[in-house]
Amino acid sequence: MVETETHPPATNTGPGRLLIAVYLLFAIAATSRAGLQIATRFAEAPVAYLLSALAALVYIVAAVGLARAGHAGRWVALACCSVELVGVVGVGLLSLADPELFPDETVWSGFGSGYGYVPLVLPVLGLLWLWRTRTR
């Protein structure tokens, strides 16, 4: 077995490390926010808070996927970035169309406006980075 051609491209160095750092920040932010919301006032807005928890989980898994850098890590990161992009655009549109649906803010409300729109930009950068480091 010759395995020279298939060594996995590094998603965890250079710009990738910056991306992982930002993902880590968002993982911390979303996890603490969701944890606090669920622990203290879950009944007020269960959908919004469960969504916060989902977002938190996705950020953590994405950071791990990028950091692991192997083929499996790439697929995990690809899945997470896609879920994020769908999530932030979907929740953004839904929160515009029907604000009643999300009585409290989530990371993804208003296309991530509460977090300087970084949640919207981050999955796009993640996907671009995965594209840049793809095996040919």
């Binding site: 250079g14 710009p15 490390r17 750092a21 911390i28 603490s32 606090l36």
Partner: protein, 140 residues
């Protein structure tokens, strides 16, 4: 004597309103932003994190730890933040940020290490401001 004591007294009474809103908090915000600017210049110039960035992170961490001590002393004195859970969450996150930047910067001795320092130093002032908001939400 009383004349010279007046500005000091007004400073301490202003600090008594919120232990995380004062000269020290402002200093952490300014230092963090200056550091972010310095690191950004380094990243643009294709330079890895230099001693100034690492020393800056160390000073920033000391200032944030001092801020945390001031907050804990105020808590010991019976003062309470408006949103205790969020306040402690932000406080713990805050003192972890410079070490995180330090570790990642040491792992990445390229321009992207400087970019990481820049990113985390941009986030830090935001966390300081959120910390202040979670203290003041009731007294506000």
């Amino acid at each position: 004597m009383t004349e010279t004591a007046t500005p000091l007294a007004s400073m301490t009474s202003a600090a008594a309103g919120s232990p995380v809103d004062g000269v020290l908090a402002t200093a952490t915000i300014v230092l963090s932003l200056v550091l972010a600017g310095w690191a950004l210049v380094a990243a643009v110039r294709n330079r890895p994190p230099d001693r100034v960035q690492l020393a800056g992170l160390a000073v920033l961490e000391l200032a944030l730890l001092a801020l945390a001590v001031v907050a804990l002393v105020a808590l010991g004195g019976g003062e309470r933040p408006g949103e205790p859970g969020a306040f402690f969450g932000y406080l713990v996150t805050l003192v972890c940020l410079p070490p995180l930047a330090w570790v990642l910067a040491r792992m990445e001795p390229t321009r992207w290490g400087s970019a990481i320092v820049c990113a985390i130093c941009v986030v830090t002032p935001v966390v300081v401001v959120r910390l202040q908001q979670t203290w003041e939400v009731v007294g506000g």
